[in-house]
């Protein structure tokens, strides 16, 4: 599996996801600079890492969503290539139009970094086949703008077509209430594109790959991708 990680000025978890991919899959990904026009030939997976691309000035993900390299990322997605956007990467995906909806400021208007349970909604996608359906995993979140909002029609479509990837929940898998850290509609933590080849999520599975540092519940996502 050949992965390319896009580095924007202001990206800051590109090293974390590099380490996770290299550690879990055994293959070192390639870093691609935002000002480039092309992806390395044969790229299977494009990763948009966490961070504050272009300082998140104007609106989070807004400038990055229009960077040169995003044309190549869109073409890659159109060919059915895999795209993973984590945190700021998710924000960039919605800004670029590769995923619907928008990520607003957290409902309490504060940045939040903590361990967070997620429910894996389906286990038959390239990103989740190493998990079980409805499995509860513990990863971490670290964002100020993770409050997923979309119009009623979009939400209905996401739900109807099974495009919700992960939902915030408590340790027992129960969604809603205090288990939702940012006010997201339908407790949405991550969504797929219609063909389930593009995944955007706010939590950071790449930081949960090591039993010494919080746990290994994030490994499943990268193990799943290994088969891609």
């Amino acid at each position: 599996m050949k992965a390319a990680i896009i580095t924007f000025p202001g990206s800051n978890r590109e090293g974390d996801v590099f380490r996770a991919l290299a550690d879990v899959t055994g293959h070192k990904p390639v870093h691609v600079w935002h000002a480039d026009y092309e992806l390395p030939p044969g790229t299977d997976l494009v990763v948009l890492p966490g961070g504050f691309a272009y300082g998140d000035y104007l609106r989070c993900g807004a400038i990055a969503g229009r960077a040169h390299i995003m044309q190549a990322v869109k073409a890659h997605a159109a060919r059915g290539g895999l795209v993973l956007g984590i945190c700021n990467g998710f924000q960039i995906l919605v800004e670029s139009g590769l995923l619907p909806g928008v990520l607003m400021r957290n409902a309490n208007l504060r940045f939040v970094c903590k361990m967070q349970h997620l429910r894996v909604e389906r286990a038959d996608t390239p990103f989740t086949r190493a998990y079980k359906q409805n499995q509860v995993i513990k990863v971490c979140i670290a964002h100020g703008e993770g409050n997923y909002i979309a119009d009623a029609e979009t939400i209905a479509r996401l739900e109807g077509e099974g495009l919700v990837a992960f939902r915030y929940c408590d340790g027992a898998g129960k969604v809603g209430g205090a288990a939702n850290p940012n006010g997201s509609l339908h407790d949405i933590a991550g969504i797929y594109s219609a063909d389930r080849k593009v995944l955007g999520l706010m939590p950071h599975p790449e930081n949960l790959i090591d039993p010494l540092v919080g746990g290994i519940d994030g490994r499943g996502l990268f193990t799943s991708l290994m088969a891609a």
Partner: protein, 731 residues
């Protein structure tokens, strides 16, 4: 621009005393120009010149075989083995944070990060120590919200985990909060970069963001006491841009790889003036600046303004001329300004040109070396009476007292604060906020570094020497409790007005105490910062010498943490307990008495007990370790139970009045847990090592039960511990 006449008022408004101005006249043999006056004011203020503290700081231990660079550079550097070095420093941003809490705190973080990466180190962790006024003071909530958001806003975006810190409240900080930020970075020990310029005629290069009018005279503001008009100083607070700083970091580290950098200095306090003078003076070279080439973001800036601006995210470098083009390409790639603004000279003059005129021409060495040095009058702080536990009547039962203590502003959980800091980025945070020390793995391990920030201001107020010792001892103990070998520290000395003998006496006493503890514990000072004039309308802060400690963990898998691990383990107390209630939080917050001599620090006992505990951790003999500090034994037990979500039954306490034993703040103590088999071995070893040990009880259940008390169910303890801060902040 017409330059104003140098009236006595103008000179005074630059923070220069009449005798200091005379010193300038004598030094240069003429009246200074307006720009030169600004340069002197920037170089000779307290913040940059350490004129009140220098004399006393000389006595601090700064050397050890593992110290690569002690005080005097941008940050301290220690050897951590395997060709790696740890670079760290702590610095205050108190006055700006009071005036504009978000930007003040944010730029405090930005400044200290720059100090670290200027030396060639990639930042791996941030910590902080925050002191706010009384919770009931009308500004406190606004300041807490702003400072915490500012620290998070900068560090989170820059991409460094904020892994630990301290938050305290006291009415003496009502008009003068403290924001002390610490940054730690990693470098190759043979690739450390310094400020010392070399070579005549080499280009001086300006890098980073453009210069604006923000922060002019920031360092002077930081060197004056606040009057009632503090808020009017808002325009002197700088504005931070963590995005620009992240680019500057990547560009600087990339540039350093090319071999083009001869010397580098960040533009922090006193901006271009201080960085240029320092580079030249350290290298025995003159510096000539041509301000026409300076990248500015505002029009018609004067030489005076350019020299004193404290715009953020800027660097100054001396480059190898042969590689200047390679260097430029790196900065163009990162979209940062790159301008040659001057050159090194052989005449030891600091020359500033602008618009074809020489705006300043000063002797460069003397600007720093001839700064005033004061031996200010000081008086020793009167000793307070020792308070015996038997003379203090417990106003409530011990279980009630414990619940109340856990819910006090100083002892309650600071989750509301640290959840706003990204403490997990980089994926090496082995131990997260809320424990004794933060532990961060170095690369892929197994080695790790432990960090902590500590000081107990009320002890320093009651007895500066013991308080100074205690701050160092507690940092050393916190590192030890995580399993680390304490290596070195950075000190951030926050005090009141040094022109008042009482405040000066606190500074002198604390430095003495710090020095004694550093020497006894082999724990040298490698960097630091002094913040004086922390006074508002004549009232000084509590003396607050914050200590930032760094220790080395051989294998992070072996690091210890505070939570109880499993049921039926033996809970042991290490260290002697006298039941010292003087200056304890029990006495203050339960009995309403803020008085007495603080607990004395026996440095031999610290060392003996600490070395014993560290060895137990290294041999895997113990399952949980916690140092005992604020709130005493009772609070430490509750914290261990909460962290492990496991109760305990305590049946044996050391001899003495129960409230003194449970809540006294005797030093040099730890709580450890171990299996029954291990505990017998540990008790025997303690006896042989002369380390006091009491087996107090066993872990298990869902409540903490103290002798002669109702069991305290963990949910009740947790509610008490977690409730206060979110509710205070209006959640």
């Amino acid at each position: 621009m017409n330059e104003p006449a140098l009236t006595p008022e103008l000179i005074a408004s630059h923070g220069l005393k009449p005798d200091e101005y005379q010193r300038i006249l004598k030094l240069i043999g003429r009246a200074p120009s307006f720009t030169e006056l600004g340069i002197f004011s920037a170089m000779w203020n307290e913040h940059c010149s350490y004129k009140s503290s220098r004399l006393h700081l000389r006595g601090l231990p700064t050397k050890a075989p593992w110290v690569i660079q002690g005080p005097g550079e941008n940050a301290g550097v220690i050897d951590i083995g395997d060709g790696e070095a740890c670079v760290f420093k702590m610095e205050s941003h108190n006055h700006p944070s009071f005036i504009e809490p978000y930007q003040g705190a944010a730029t405090g973080v930005g400044g200290i990060l720059r100090d670290v990466f200027t030396m060639g180190a990639r930042p791996i962790a941030c910590l902080n120590a925050l002191r706010f006024g009384a919770p009931e003071h009308p500004k406190t909530r606004h300041l807490v919200a702003g400072v915490v958001a500012g620290i998070g806003g900068y560090g989170n975006s820059f991409g460094v985990p904020t892994v630990g810190g301290q938050v305290g409240f006291h009415t003496r900080y009502d008009g003068n909060i403290l924001v002390n930020a610490m940054a730690v970075g990693l470098a190759r020990s043979d690739a450390i970069f310094y400020a010392k310029a070399t070579g005549v005629g080499n280009p001086i290069v300006y890098l980073g963001s453009k210069t604006g009018r923000d922060g002019i005279h920031g360092a002077s503001m930081a060197s004056a006491a606040f009057e009632a008009d503090a808020e009017e100083k808002r325009p002197t607070v700088q504005v931070g841009d963590p995005f620009a700083e992240k680019l500057l970091l990547e560009a600087c580290l990339e540039l350093m790889q090319t071999g083009a950098v001869i010397a580098i200095q960040d533009m922090g306090a006193a901006g271009l003036t201080s960085s240029a003078v320092e580079m030249g003076a350290k290298g025995n070279l003159g510096i000539e600046l041509d301000l026409d080439a300076l990248p500015c973001r505002e029009e018609r800036m004067s030489a005076y303004e350019m020299m004193l601006s404290e715009s953020q995210e800027r660097m100054l470098m001396v480059l190898d001329p042969a590689r200047a083009e390679i260097a430029k390409a790196v900065f163009v790639k990162w979209g940062l300004d790159f301008a040659i603004v001057g050159k090194t000279t052989d005449n030891l003059r600091f020359v500033v040109k602008h618009g074809g005129e020489v705006k300043a021409d000063l002797p460069i060495k003397e600007l720093g070396d001839e700064a005033p040095l004061y031996d200010r009058p000081w008086v020793e702080t009167p000793k307070q009476a020792v308070i015996e536990a038997r003379d203090v009547r417990p106003p409530v039962g011990h279980d009630v007292a414990l619940l109340r203590l856990l819910a006090t502003p100083d002892l309650c959980s600071k989750r509301w604060v640290w959840e706003q800091y990204d403490h997990l980025i980089l994926g090496n945070s082995v131990q997260q906020p809320g424990g004794d020390a933060a532990v961060v793995r170095v690369g892929d391990g197994p080695k790790g570094l432990a960090f902590t920030t500590d000081v107990t201001p009320r002890y320093c107020e009651a007895d500066p020497v013991e308080g100074g010792k205690q701050a160092v001892a507690e940092a050393w103990r916190n590192l030890t409790a995580s399993g680390a070998r304490p290596l070195a520290l950075t000190d951030n000395l926050n005090f009141g007005n040094p022109e008042k003998p009482e405040a000066m006496g606190q500074l002198v006493g604390c430095i003495r105490g710090i020095g004694e503890a550093c020497a006894a514990l082999d724990f040298p000072v490698v960097s630091g910062n002094v913040s004086l004039y922390n006074e508002t309308q004549g009232r000084g802060i509590l003396p607050t010498p914050t200590i930032g400690g760094v220790g080395l963990v051989k294998d992070v898998a072996q690091a210890a943490s505070i939570g109880f691990k499993q049921a039926d383990e033996v809970i042991m107390l290490i260290g002697a307990t006298q039941g010292w209630l003087g200056q304890s939080l029990y006495l203050r917050d339960i009995c309403g008495l803020e008085r007495g001599a603080p607990p004395p620090v026996d440095l031999d006992a610290e060392r003996r007990n600490g070395d014993f505990v560290r060895e137990l951790i290294a041999f895997g003999e113990v399952s949980a370790v916690h140092d005992i500090a604020d709130g005493g034994l009772g609070v430490a037990l509750a914290e261990m139970a909460l962290a492990g979500n496991l109760g305990a039954r305590i049946t044996v306490l050391p001899q003495g009045e129960a409230h003194g034993v449970l809540f006294g703040e005797d030093q040099a103590r730890y709580i450890i847990t171990a299996t029954t088999a291990n505990s017998l071995r540990i008790a025997k070893a303690a006896g042989q090592a002369g380390v006091p040990l009491v087996a107090m009880g066993v872990t298990g259940g869902t409540a903490l039960t103290l002798p002669d008390c109702e069991p305290l169910p963990l949910p009740r303890l947790r509610e008490a511990h977690e409730h206060w801060l979110p509710s205070f902040m209006g959640d």
